[in-house]
Symmetry: C2
Subunit: 362 residues, 2 copies
C-alpha cells in the first residue's frame, strides 16, 4: 500500500485511517454474516442495529434529548434546501421565511426556498465578499415561519461564533461543515441538517434533527421521501437508505467518542486552526481571507500574491503529500479543510510547509 496523504479536501473529506481499515476488513464479510453490510437488507437486524447505535452515539456525543427527533434523508444538504421550506413554510399562514446569507450555500438555500413560499434576506454578507459575518439583531415578525443560516462557510472559512436569538421563531442551521466540530447545544435550534461527507462519513445522505413540534407540517406537494414526519415515523427507512453511508458514519461516531468526544474534537480543531492562523498572521506572503472575528476552525482560507504563486504553492504542497488545498472554484486561493478526521500532524506538516515555502519563495 502506498502512503496515505494528508487530504485537505472540503468534502467528500478524509476519514480516519482506523475507520477506513475497519471498513476494509469487513468488506467481504460483515461480522460473520457471510456478506458485506452493503449486500444485506436495510430492514435486517445487522443494519437496524447500526441505525440504532448511530442515533444513540450521536445523542450521547451532543447531549441531544427527546425534544428533537433524528433521521437520515437522501441527497445531502442541498436536498434540504428544498426539504426545509417544504416542511416548515406552512408553520405560519404567511409562508414567509428569513434567510441570513453568509456564503454560497446560503444563497442557494434562499433561492430554492422561494419556490415554496416567500423569503426575506435579513443579513447579506455578499457586499463584504463573504469574508465577514455581519452583526445581526432584529425583532422578528412572530409570523415568520423560520430563520435559516449556515453555521460554517466552507468557501470563505467563516463561522458563526454566537448564534442570533430568534425568539419563538425556529432557527434552522445548515451545519454540514461543522457538525460535531465544536460543542453545540443543538436543542436550541428548531432544525439542524448536515450532509455527511465532511465531518461524518461518505456522501449521499443528510443527518436531520427536528424539534418535535415542527413535524407534520409538510406542504401537500412535498415529495414523500422529503416529508419529515414520514422520515421520523419510518426511522430513516421510508425506502432503502444509503446503507454504506450510515455504516461508515457509525464507525466515525464511535471514533469521535473514543477520542474523548466533541469537547476534545473542539480543542483539537482550535489547536489545528490556530497553528495555521498563526502562520498567516506572521506572514508577509499569505493573506487570510476571513475576518479574524469570524474565523472558522474547520476551513482555513488564504490567498497568495498572485495566481502564479498560488499554483506554485499547490504544486509543491502536493509533492509533500498535502492534498487538495485548492480553494473552491468560485473563490480561488488556498483552502485547508481540517475537519475532525485531520490529525494534528497533518496540520503541522502544512504549517511547516507554508513557512518553508515563504522563506524559499520570497
Amino acid at each position: 500500500m502506498s502512503q496515505r496523504v494528508y487530504n485537505f479536501g472540503a468534502g467528500p473529506a478524509m476519514l480516519p485511517t482506523e475507520v477506513m481499515e475497519e471498513v476494509q476488513q469487513e468488506m467481504l464479510d460483515y461480522q460473520g454474516h457471510g456478506a458485506s453490510i452493503i449486500e444485506i437488507s436495510h430492514r435486517a437486524p445487522p443494519f437496524l442495529e447500526i441505525l440504532e447505535e448511530t442515533e444513540s452515539i450521536f445523542r450521547r456525543l451532543t447531549g441531544l434529548g427527546s425534544s428533537h427527533v433524528m433521521f437520515f434523508m437522501h441527497g445531502g444538504a442541498q436536498m434540504q434546501f428544498s426539504a426545509v421550506p417544504l416542511n416548515l413554510m406552512a408553520r405560519k399562514e404567511k409562508r414567509s421565511a428569513v434567510y441570513l446569507i453568509t456564503g454560497k450555500w446560503g444563497v442557494l438555500a434562499e433561492e430554492e426556498a422561494r419556490k415554496f413560499g416567500s423569503t426575506r434576506v435579513a443579513l447579506d454578507g455578499k457586499p463584504l465578499g463573504f469574508q465577514k459575518i455581519p452583526e445581526w439583531e432584529e425583532v422578528l415578525d412572530p409570523e415568520t415561519s423560520y430563520v435559516h443560516l449556515t453555521s460554517n462557510n466552507t468557501l470563505y472559512g467563516t463561522q458563526w461564533q454566537e448564534y442570533p436569538d430568534t425568539g419563538k421563531v425556529p432557527l434552522v442551521s445548515d451545519s454540514t461543515s461543522d457538525i460535531l466540530s465544536r460543542k453545540e447545544d443543538y436543542s436550541r435550534f428548531g432544525l439542524v441538517y448536515a450532509g455527511l461527507q465532511k465531518n461524518l462519513g461518505p456522501s449521499g445522505l443528510a443527518l436531520v434533527l427536528v424539534r418535535e413540534d415542527l413535524l407534520g407540517l409538510a406542504l401537500p406537494q412535498t415529495p414523500k421521501l422529503l416529508d419529515y414526519q414520514l422520515a421520523h415515523e419510518q426511522r430513516s427507512l421510508a425506502n432503502t437508505t444509503s446503507v454504506f453511508s450510515i455504516y461508515v458514519t457509525l464507525k466515525m461516531l464511535r471514533w469521535v467518542e473514543k477520542q474523548g468526544g466533541v469537547a476534545v474534537m473542539e480543542q483539537r480543531n482550535r489547536e489545528k486552526s490556530k497553528l495555521l492562523y498563526d502562520v498567516l498572521d506572521d506572514s508577509e506572503l499569505y493573506k487570510a481571507v476571513a475576518d479574524p472575528e469570524n474565523r472558522s476552525i474547520c476551513n482555513v482560507t488564504f490567498r497568495l500574491d498572485d495566481d502564479e504563486m498560488e499554483k506554485r504553492f499547490l504544486k509543491q504542497s502536493l509533492n509533500e503529500g498535502l492534498y487538495a488545498l485548492k480553494g473552491h472554484r468560485d473563490v480561488g486561493g488556498i483552502r485547508a479543510s481540517i475537519y475532525n478526521s485531520m490529525p494534528l500532524e497533518g496540520v503541522k506538516a502544512l504549517a511547516d510547509f507554508m513557512k518553508d515555502f515563504e522563506r524559499r519563495e520570497t
Copy 2:
C-alpha cells in the same frame, strides 16, 4: 474470512465476490492516490473518470444511443415516484398520467403521482393478487402525459414479457429489479429508472434514462435536485452525489461486460430461474405464486403448505448457507432473488435443497 453465503435477498442484494474484493483492495488507497475514492472530491478527475466510464459501459451494454440522456439521482426508485410526475406531468396541459399497476411499487408510484396531477389506473392486478399481469390494450388519449409501469414485480415474482404499445405517449418504466437482466431496447421508453441496489450496486441512488425531448418540462415546484434538466446539465453532479454507489456500480458494469454482456446475463438468468421453476412444477409441496405466463427471471416466489412449514424451510435453508429467502413482509412465503450477481451454483444449491427438503418433510 468466513465463507460467503448465497444471498437471495431482494435488495440491497449480493454483489459478485470479485467486485467486492476489488472494492476491499482499494479501500485505503484508490489507485495510488493515497486516499479512498470516498475521501476524494466528486469533482476531481478520479471520480469524473468513474462517472464517464460508468455511462459509456452502460451504453455499450445496452446499445442505448444519443436519443436518451443518462444520469444518477439521489434516493433510489421511490424518489422517482415523485420525480417522474414532477418532470413529466406538464408534458400535456391536462396533467394526466396512466398507471399500469402490477404490484406494490406500482401502487405507491401512482399514489405519489396524484400529488402532482391526475392519474388513471388503466390496469390493476390487485384483484388477481398480483399473481398475474393482466392483458392490456387500449387506444390512449393522446393528451396523456405518460404511461407508467413496473417492469418486474419483486414481491410476487412477475415480469412483463412484452411491453404495451403506447403510441406517441411516452412509456415510463420502473426497471429497478430487472435492469440489465435481459436484453432490452431501452430507447423504446420515454423514461427508465432503476434504484441501484438490486442489479447494479449499493443503495442510495437511481439510474435514470430520459429521452431528450422529455427534458426541461419540470413543474415550478420541483425540488432542484429532482429536476431532470439540471441533473442532465450537471452530469449527475448538481450536488455531491453518492460517490461510493457509482464507484461500485462501475465495477459491477465492468463485471457484466467481462461475463459477456447482457445477452449472457439473460441466458444465465433464464437457466437459473428454470432450475427453480422446474422444481416448483414437479413438486407436490411447493406452490408457485406467479402465473406461468408472467414468471420473472429475477425473483422466484412460492408458498409451502403453512407457516410452520415455511419457517422450517427458512431455518434449514439458512443452515445450508442459503440466505434471505423469506418473502417480502407484505406477502409472506418464500422468495429467491437471483439477480445477475447470483451464480448458477447458488441456484443449484437452492434447487437441491428444495428437493431434499421435500423428500425429507413429506
